[in-house]
Amino acid sequence: MTIMNPHLKFQSQAVAKPYFVFALMLFLGQILFGLIMGLQYVVGDFLFPLIPFNVARMVHTNLLIVWLLFGFMGAAYYLIPEEADRELHSPKLAIILFWVFAAAGVLTILGYLFVPYAGLAKMTGNELLPTMGREFLEQPTITKMGIVVVALGFLYNIGMTLLKGRKTTISMVMMTGLIGLAVFFLFSFYNPENLARDKYYWWFVVHLWVEGVWELIMGAMLAFVLIKVTGVDREVVEKWLYVIIAMALITGILGTGHHFFWIGAPAVWLWVGSIFSAMEPIPFFAMVLFAFTMVGKRRRQHPNRAATLWAKGTTVTAFFGAGVWGFLHTLAPVNFYTHGSQLTAAHGHLAFYGAYAMIVMTLISYAMPRLRGLGEAPDERSQTIEIWGFWLMTLSMVAITLCLTAAGVVQVMLQRWPTDGTALSFMSTVDQLAVFFWLRLVAGLFFLVGLLCYLYSFKQRGRATARDEAALAVSA
């Protein structure tokens, strides 16, 4: 940070860079473990006993959560100073927390891979405060505490920046989302013996993250990038943000009910969950309209074509993945047959990729050229490779989703629908689905190619584009 970077409004924004770089490294890891699992679906003993399926799944999902958290933190460190119009409160704290979080993350993943899970629980003193053993929240209690400490330090850092600086709608929404993220994570420390009750609190973390406060984070990040790449008035963008946030919260909070179907919870949740979550596609649709309207009204042709493409792409993919594929099985009478089937996996893949992986890549695409000192945009060749990466990954994910959807439909027909005693058992059903799983694996390989393409697009040497040098000359 000794060399001034002329492309950053505030030099402390540079702390976002290690967060983004590490996020993308973890993303690569997530995809590799996804491929291992994809193969294990059809070749059950692949890599057994080295990496059993349950471990590969745990690593795949945990890496997803952690790389998205790194992405959100990087995004906050980049956009909060710019919105607050002042330097970050403490860049040093941001770097220290980066290393703490990265070390804790790596140690936890190594623990998953090299220590049997029960041994890991014993080693980390899980019996003192049992929180392990639940999907997505498998982290040892001590790692969870580390996450809370990192989150507190992070919130303190950006909170102080915000308090002393300009308060904009975007930064307030981002801050609210991040505080919500930290607060709802606290439910992961409560682990009642009763499995039905445990599920309530578990969903308070998982659902109120992805269908609640994360939508605020996504909305704020999207609005930030759209203002930058289109030059549209902040006031217009803020009105849109209000609508998106209001709809996300009205539908998302009570929409939690759709997870309480058939788990031993009262029947009223069938009504609450069905009605409120039926409207959850609305905020995602509003984001599509938002992105395309803003790009349509743009006041300038931003040289970073790739960032604009990501911004539009994330809204469309999120609308289909989270909105449409969520709605497909959210109504209680439908969910009676589809609960926890391959349809859920189809929805999970497209929603996580479309809403959260893509919004992080949108911000990386916009911010990384500046963080690397390249200017507003990488050169044309790099952008073309990046756009190839975008299409390869997105289309592969659509293909994965379609394969899993087909598998889900067949699964329901064979295993859930028949009432005359001809229904197949779970494992016999899975045997019948092998063709879809093979196709899904092929799509997964294409996804990896897309990701490598995307990572390769960062290869450009540090030199500003001609357009940008001209712009710099003008501003000087």
Binding site: E238, Y242, V243, I250, A267, V268, W271, M279
Partner: protein
């Protein structure tokens, strides 16, 4: 005809309140519309059950609830008129009256809820009562939020924070309160009367 058109086109005509509040109201009405639709469809599927269950509700209480909310809405509208005429302290008293009238609603509703709960007609009793509690409960939460807004506006008026040229926040608050009114006017016949 021509005068009304001119009035429509005149630059003095503007959207009362903040645009964001209108978006919020639109979103809220969408949610209530879906709830009302669900109630109507469920009633069409189980007409006897809905008829029998509705007899257990006291429609005169429903009427009293409606009147208290409408009165409160009237006071809020009158308060806004006073602010527009630069009489903020009078507006504060009117808002207080609106708050009191709305409190009558809250007390009556709580009485009704405890009566129903005591009679074993809880949210799990049958489809009618599941939807009764959901619809009126979701609305009740909005009324409670409305009380906070009315109280806050009254306090701001007492401090003369609003005037004829500076009443957008006041308008937004009153708009919200009218939305709560409007939804109840739809809920009352749907839940208590129509068979």
């Amino acid at each position: 005809m021509s005068t009304s058109l001119e009035a429509f086109a005149s630059p003095a005509r503007r959207l009362p309140g903040d645009l964001a509040m209108w978006f919020f109201i639109l979103a809220e009405l969408t949610v209530f519309a879906l709830l009302i639709l669900t109630f109507a469809v469920a009633q069409a599927l189980q007409p006897q059950l809905f008829h029998a269950s509705r007899q257990l509700l006291d429609s005169s209480t429903g009427l009293a609830l409606t009147l208290s909310l409408l009165t409160s809405g009237l006071f809020a509208a009158l308060a806004l008129e006073q602010v527009r005429q630069a009489r903020a302290s009078r507006a504060a008293w009117l808002l207080l009256a609106a708050l009191l009238s709305a409190s009558v609603y809250v007390l009556l509703k709580l009485g009704e809820y405890s009566h129903l709960a005591g009679a074993g007609l809880g949210i799990e009793h049958n489809t009618f009562f599941t939807l009764y509690w959901m619809l009126t409960g979701f609305h009740f939460v909005h009324v409670l939020l409305g009380l906070l807004i009315l109280g806050w506006l009254a306090e701001r008026c007492r401090r003369r924070a609003y005037g004829p040229d500076n009443c957008s926040v006041m308008e937004s608050g009153v708009l919200y309160w009218h939305m709560v009114d409007l939804v109840w006017v739809l809920l009352f016949p749907l839940v208590y009367i129509l068979n």
